[in-house]
């Protein structure tokens, strides 16, 4: 019951915010700063929801979410670039790019999951940490160009020579430049809604309960016939896929994207959104992501002090959300409301 209510809350937050922002945007009342934040916030939300499924629901620490975003982003950019001559409709290209990005990130998730999820302990954290760095190095050394003769690929040394009029889709350390910006805020909101709906439905399903059972007690779960590796794999791959789709949307919202953007720091930032929002708490993740992405921009007025204040806010949020008294207070409020509700029901 409680779960249903939190679902309604998180969906309504997103939909109401979208309606308000979209009206402001269409009437030209939204500041340029806010309009520049819309798509990135949606991307981080989708990636954070995915990560929360993996960290909060499945209980496996993942330190490479940015790596999956990177795969999605650069795949998405390449797909969109390759299709630009074939499909002129930006929406179809965007959706195709996001789906391909999601699938490829998911495939990498499976590859990583096969050896690591069979083990108990923090091995996934170690492997995903390395994975994020490996992906960054790989993309940094990838060269992919396209001209009238087709695709040209080289690795480490750039040996791609294009005919005049050709285009480098991936250019090593420079990443992708001159990307057509086809991402939209609406697409971002739809992505977040799909991710939310998927995670909530998964949590309510038999597989979701199996995931949580495997998190709470691996031995007990396997003793009642749950395939622990399989359930953890499900959560991990879905999480990676969401990051991939989010990455594709992110990549297609900027005209340039460097591989170094998706570094360890970004993985940690997304993890911070999840942890401060509350493990397993999707509404909290959404709010924390919104706040923590926009806050540094809102603090620009403080110039030199803004990163300092941002750090203080982070610490304060961490202490307050973990404070026993605050927790007891919230619990009391909840109980009181329940009692009232029960009382009303009797009358």
């Amino acid at each position: 019951m409680n779960n249903k209510r939190s679902q309604i809350v998180s969906f309504s937050i997103i939909i109401i915010l979208y309606a308000v922002l979209e009206i402001l945007l269409k009437t030209g009342n939204l500041s340029s700063l806010f309009s520049s934040l819309l798509i990135p916030v949606c991307c981080y939300m989708a990636a954070a929801i995915g990560l929360n499924l993996n960290v909060g629901i499945s209980g496996e620490l993942n330190l490479g979410q940015a790596g999956f975003m990177s795969i999605g982003a650069f795949t998405g950019i390449c797909v969109s670039g390759m299709l630009s001559g074939v499909i002129s409709n930006g929406v179809i290209r965007l959706v195709t790019a996001m789906i391909v990005g999601m699938i490829l990130a998911g495939v990498f998730g499976i590859l990583i999951g096969i050896p690591t999820l069979k083990l108990s302990g923090d091995y996934l954290a170690i492997v995903t940490l390395a994975f994020g760095e490996i992906i960054k190095s790989l993309v940094t050394n990838l060269y992919l160009g396209m001209d009238s003769r087709g695709l040209h690929f080289s690795f480490v040394q750039n040996k791609v020579s294009l005919e005049p009029g050709g285009k480098m889709l991936l250019n090593g350390a420079m990443g992708a430049t001159g990307t057509e910006r086809i991402a939209s805020f609406t697409a971002g909101v739809i992505l977040v809604l799909i991710c939310l709906a998927f995670v909530y439905n998964l949590m309510d399903s038999g597989s979701g309960r199996a995931i949580m059972a495997a998190r709470d007690n691996r031995i007990a779960a396997s003793s009642i016939g749950i395939d622990v590796t399989r359930t953890k794999m499900l959560a991990f791959v879905v999480s990676a896929g969401m990051a991939g789709a989010a990455g594709a949307l992110y990549g297609l919202s900027f005209s340039t994207l460097e591989p170094r953007k998706f570094d360890f720091n970004l993985s940690i930032m997304i993890l911070v959104y999840v942890v401060l929002g509350g493990l397993g708490n999707m509404t909290g993740t959404l709010i924390a992501t919104m706040l923590l992405v926009t806050l540094p921009q809102m603090l620009r007025g403080l110039s030199d002090f803004r990163m300092l204040i941002y750090a203080i806010v982070l610490i304060a949020m961490m202490l307050i959300t973990n404070n026993e008294k605050v927790k007891i207070f919230i619990e009391k409020m909840r109980l009181r409301r329940k009692e009232k509700g029960a009382g009303n029901g009797e009358n």
């Binding site: 700063l33 190095s137 007025g301 110039s303």
Partner: protein
């Protein structure tokens, strides 16, 4: 009890932070002319609003700070002369494409009319299409990649048209270096290149350098790469030493360069070192023994020890104001503001014009005028936004840059 007090303190800190953020929020949305990143000069009444962004925090902060300082100084000087007044708003983008678009949003909300665009290349490539969409004139002091001014950097076609550069493009630096090596065989003939293959700027220069080196018949005996996270350079320096190179080309930023010099010193390896504008700043690395950088060559259009009046005055004022010797980025930025001022005066731009009208006038001025500044005399711009000026080399002697006769 103690915990209770802690909670109160935290609550107070939170409230304070929130109040501050709200205040900042209100300030930005009302479009007040409050100096957010630091406005300079006492712009009275109608002033032309110059925007700009660069890394004021993070690994590349030295560049952003230099550009911001010099631009502030130039604006103050121009305002003090009377005539057209200017107001500067310089935002932090932390050398990140996403934050640069945020900074652009802040500047647009503020009402920017002309811009110094961004300091570094990747952020510039991210905001360039936005400048084009909104038709705002941008003159970047130091964003040197081709993607900064070309929509299609692979073919060097489709320039944005309203974006111009004060610095050379990356490829031109690589090309100029290779040409310099050909005309100065005394530096060394066996060339080794160490570059950062994770960095846009470094690989950009490297590629053009190799092409031009082949064309010039130079003997490149080897190359080594490193990454952003590399801290120990003994492998790369060792490879250079083993290859018998007597000239090492470093198309990299100054922070890894300082580590390379330390590694070379511990191996007793003493080739000629040659860097480009990213090496500028090597003398300001904290905790780095600048003696190790003695004799390093840099290809830079600005040297602080030049004896012409303009440079002398600039260096003196900059030192008095900020307590350090200005680097090339500061000079580029100073020139950018003066070039904008020159074009504004020549085109008769006033503060009440829209950014779009100003842009048209500025573009026609920049493609036709010739500008004398710190970084070059008779500097001209092509219609695509590329600058044309003579490159010069400097060498570090006794902890300062000394010009090398060409």
């Amino acid at each position: 009890m103690k915990k209770k007090i802690m909670t109160k303190v935290i609550a107070a800190a939170m409230t304070g932070a929130m109040a501050l953020s709200l205040a900042a929020c209100g300030g930005a949305s009302s479009g007040s002319s409050a100096s957010q990143g630091g406005a300079a000069g006492s712009a009275s009444g109608a002033a032309i609003k110059i925007g700009g962004s660069g890394p004021l925090t993070g690994a590349a902060a030295i560049y952003g700070t230099a550009v911001k300082n010099a631009a502030e100084m130039a604006v103050e000087e121009i305002n003090a002369k009377g005539g057209t007044q200017y107001e500067l708003n310089f935002q932090d983008d932390a050398h990140d494409a996403e934050q640069a678009t945020n900074a652009y949003g802040v500047l647009k909300d503020w009402g920017m009319q002309v811009s110094l665009a961004t300091v570094t290349s990747a952020p510039m490539a991210a905001v360039a299409p936005m400048y084009k969409d909104d038709h705002i004139f941008g003159l970047t002091p130091s964003a040197s990649s081709l993607a900064a001014i070309y929509e299609d950097p692979d073919n060097e076609t489709n320039p944005y048209g309203d974006l111009f550069q004060v610095c050379f493009t990356d490829p031109n630096q690589g090309k100029a270096s290779a040409d310099y090596f050909k005309s100065h065989p005394d530096l060394g003939t066996k060339i080794f290149v160490i570059y950062n293959n994770e960095d846009n700027y470094s690989t950009g220069v490297y590629k053009k350098f190799i092409d031009q080196a082949k064309a010039n018949g130079l003997d490149v005996v080897g190359e080594a790469t490193f990454m952003n996270s590399t801290v120990d350079f003994s492998v790369q320096v060792g490879a250079a030493k083993d290859s018998g190179a007597d000239l090492v080309f470093l198309p990299i930023y100054y922070t890894p360069a300082s580590q390379i010099f330390i590694a070379a010193d511990s191996m007793g390896y003493k080739p000629s070192w040659f860097g480009i504008d990213g090496m500028d700043g090597i003398l300001t690395v904290e905790g780095f023994d600048t003696k190790l950088a003695e004799g390093v060559y840099l290809l830079t259009p600005f040297s602080a020890d030049a004896t012409d009046d303009l440079t002398k005055k600039f260096v003196e004022n900059y030192k008095a104001k900020y307590g350090e010797i200005p680097n090339q980025f500061a000079a580029d930025s100073y020139d950018a503001v003066y070039a904008i001022a020159k074009a504004v005066d020549a085109a008769g731009v006033t503060a009440d014009m829209s950014a779009s009208d100003i842009c048209d006038k500025m573009v026609s001025q920049f493609t036709s005028m010739s500008f004398d500044g710190l970084t070059g005399k008779s500097v001209t711009w092509s219609a695509s936004g590329e600058v044309s000026k003579t490159p010069a080399a400097v060498v570090i002697e006794n902890g300062t840059y000394v010009g090398v006769e060409n």
